[in-house]
Amino acid sequence: MTLTKLLATATLALGLATSAMAQDKTKVGFIYVGPIGDGGWTYEHDKGRLAVEAHFGDKVETVYQESVPEGADAERAITQMALQGADLIFTTSFGYMEPTLAVAGKFGNVKFEHATGFKTAPNLSTYSARFYEGRAVQGHIAGKMTKSNIIGYIASFPIPEVIRGINSAYIHARKVNPDVEFKIIWAYTWFDPAKEADAATALIEQGADVILQHTDSTAPQAAAEKAGNVITFGQASDMAEYAPMPRVSSIIDNWAPYYIARTQAVMDGTWESVQTWDGIGPGMVGIGEISSAVPEDIKAEALALKAALADGSYHPFTGPLKKQDGSDWLAEGEAADDGTLLGMNFYVEGITGDIPN
C-alpha cells in the first residue's frame, strides 16, 4: 500500500517535473529542402535558426531536418517533428505547402509557418520575401553590364515566385537595354550542383555573359568563374566568396528578425495566423555589396533604384506593361496588386518561350 502510494507520488512528481521542463523551453522546428551547407537558400534559413538560438538562449530548443524532399515524404518529416513536441515549425520551401497544411490539420496546438506559399489555416501562417524587388536591381545591373545582350537565367520550378523573378529582372534589364534577350533554362531542381553548373555552362556557350540563378547552390558561380568574363549574382545568400568577379552583387534573404519575432509571439501566447510578405524596406530582402567590377555610375543608379524600392516610391511592376501574348496588363502608372503577383503565371511582353505547366 505505502509502496504503491510512494510509487504513484514519485511518478506524479516526475510527470510534473517533466512537463514543467517542457513548458520551460519553446521548441522550434525547421524543415529544410537542401543541406545547411548549400551556401544559399537553406544556409540563410539556418542562419535564422541560429539567430533564434542566440537571441533566446536557454529559453528555446531548435531542431531541424535537412534535405527533406518536397512531396509525400515531407509530411512524414513534419509529422515527426510535431510528435517530438515542437511548438512552432517553419517549413521552408514552396513544395511543402500541401504537406504542411495536412499536418497542421492534425496538430491543432502546434503553430506552423510555411515559406513562400499561399494556403493558411488558424494555426498555419505564410511568410515570404519580395525577392522580385531585388530582381529589379539585378535586372538593371545585368542590362547595363551585358555586352552580348544575352542574359542566361537558371530557373528552378515554374511557380509564381520564380516567374515573378524572371519578369521583374527582364522588365528592368529591358528598360536600360532594349536589345537584351533572356535565355531561360528550367532545371527542375532547387539543389543539384552538377546540373546547375551544366546549365550555366550551356547558357555561357550560347553567348550569355550574365547568369542569373534561382537555384540554391553556388555551382553556377563556379562555372561562371571558370568561363571568365561572365557576371553572376549571389542568390538567397551573399555568396561573397565569388566577389568581385563573377559575383557582382546579390539578393540576401534575411529571415532572422522574422523567426525571432514569431518565436517570441509563441512564447507570449500572442501568435496568430498571418500572411507576411516583406521586401527591401523592412529588411527581409537585402542587396549584397555591389562589387568593384561594376562601374561607379551603374552602381549609383542601382543604389538609387534600391532606395526607391525601399521607401515604396517605386513598384517594380508599374505600367504600362503588357503580357507575353500582347494583351494589356497594367495601364500607365498602375502598380500590380499582390493578388496577381502571388498567382503570377505569365511572362511579360518580350520574353520568348513558354512557361512549363
Partner: protein, 306 residues
C-alpha cells in the same frame, strides 16, 4: 532540324565531361556486382571521394594527389562495407544504404572548412596535332586526364573480364560462390578486393564532380549521381561497353536538353527534363533483349561452412 545557337562541337565536348562521373562510379560497381556483391553505397562513396579529393587538392595544390586521395577515401569507406558484409555477414542491401547515409553525413562534417574555397585548376591535356583536327580535335582530344582514364578503364575492365584468368575467377565467384570455393578460390578475399576497387572508382567519380565539373565543394553535391550509376549497371546488363554507352547517352541527353532549353526550341520543357532518364533506359532495355542476366550469386551471403 534547327539547332539555333547550339554549337555541336562544344556540346559533344560537354557530353564527355558530364558522362565521366557516372561512368567511373558505374564501372566500379560493375566489377563489384560481377563478383556477386550488391553495394548500394555508391552515392556515399562518391561524396566521400568528392570531399577527400577536394580537401587534399586544396591543401597540397595538386589535383593529381587529390584524385589519389579520393580513390583512397572511397576505398576506405567501402572497406567498412566489406567488413560488414564479408566478415560479419550482414545484409548487403541494408549495409549499402547505411553506407550512403554515413558517407553523406561524414562528408558534410569533413567539408565544413571547405565551403567557398576554389580548387587548384586542372589543365586540359591538349594533345598536339590530334587536338588541332577540326571538329574531332576539340571533341575527343582536348580533355582533362580523367576523361581518358575513364575510357581506358572501360577497355581494361572489358578485357580483364573477358580474356584474363583473374576476370574468369572473379566471374566464377559472382556466378556460383560455392563452386568457386570448392575449386579453392578465396571467395571472401576476391570480393573484398572487388569492393575496394568499386569504392576507389566511386571516389574518383565524386572527385571529378568536385574538382572538375563544378568545381567547388558543396554539401550533398553528388545529388543522386551514385543512384544513377547503380541503375546504369543494371540496365547495361553488367557489360562494360554498355555502361559507357549508357553514361554517354545519359550525359549527352542531359547536356543536350539544357542546351535545347537555352536555345528556345519549341519542345515542352517537361519532356526535355525527363528525357535523359527515359532515353537511357529505353536504349539499354532494348539492347538487353539478348539473354544477358545478373550474376547468379548477386547479393547472396557467402560463408565457407555453408
Amino acid at each position: 532540324m534547327e539547332f539555333g545557337s547550339i554549337n555541336p562541337v562544344l556540346l559533344l565536348a560537354s557530353l564527355m565531361v558530364a558522362a565521366t562521373p557516372i561512368l567511373l562510379a558505374a564501372l566500379g560497381e560493375l566489377v563489384v556486382e560481377r563478383a556477386g556483391v550488391l553495394n548500394l553505397g555508391v552515392e556515399g562513396m562518391m561524396i566521400i571521394g568528392a570531399i577527400c579529393g577536394f580537401a587534399v587538392a586544396v591543401n597540397t595544390g595538386s589535383p593529381v594527389l587529390g584524385f589519389v586521395a579520393a580513390a583512397a577515401g572511397g576505398a576506405l569507406l567501402s572497406l567498412l562495407f566489406a567488413i560488414l558484409t564479408q566478415f560479419a555477414l550482414a545484409n548487403q542491401v541494408a549495409s549499402g544504404l547505411a553506407l550512403t547515409l554515413f558517407g553523406l553525413g561524414l562528408s558534410a562534417l569533413l567539408g565544413q572548412g571547405y565551403v567557398g574555397i576554389k580548387p587548384p585548376p586542372i589543365g586540359k591535356l591538349d594533345i598536339p596535332l590530334l587536338g588541332d583536327i577540326p571538329l574531332l580535335g576539340p571533341v575527343l582530344f582536348s580533355h582533362d586526364l580523367m576523361v581518358y582514364f575513364g575510357l581506358t578503364l572501360v577497355v581494361a575492365i572489358w578485357a580483364m573480364l573477358k580474356y584474363s584468368r583473374a576476370g574468369l575467377v572473379l566471374r566464377a565467384v559472382g556466378e556460383n560462390h560455392d563452386a568457386a570455393h570448392a575449386l579453392g578460390y578465396k571467395v571472401v578475399r576476391i570480393r573484398v578486393l572487388a569492393i575496394l576497387f568499386g569504392g576507389a572508382c566511386a571516389g574518383l567519380g565524386g572527385a571529378y564532380i568536385s574538382l572538375i565539373r563544378v568545381p567547388q565543394w558543396t554539401e550533398g553535391m553528388t545529388a543522386g549521381a551514385g543512384w544513377i550509376a547503380l541503375a546504369l549497371v543494371v540496365f547495361a546488363s553488367w557489360k562494360a561497353g554498355r555502361v559507357l554507352l549508357g553514361a554517354w547517352i545519359f550525359g549527352g541527353v542531359t547536356v543536350l536538353q539544357l542546351n535545347l532549353q537555352a536555345a528556345g526550341i519549341a519542345i515542352p520543357v517537361e519532356y526535355l527534363s525527363m528525357s535523359p532518364y527515359l532515353i537511357t533506359i529505353l536504349v539499354l532495355v532494348i539492347m538487353s533483349a539478348d539473354r544477358s542476366r545478373a550474376p547468379a550469386s548477386l547479393g547472396r551471403i557467402f560463408h565457407a561452412s555453408q
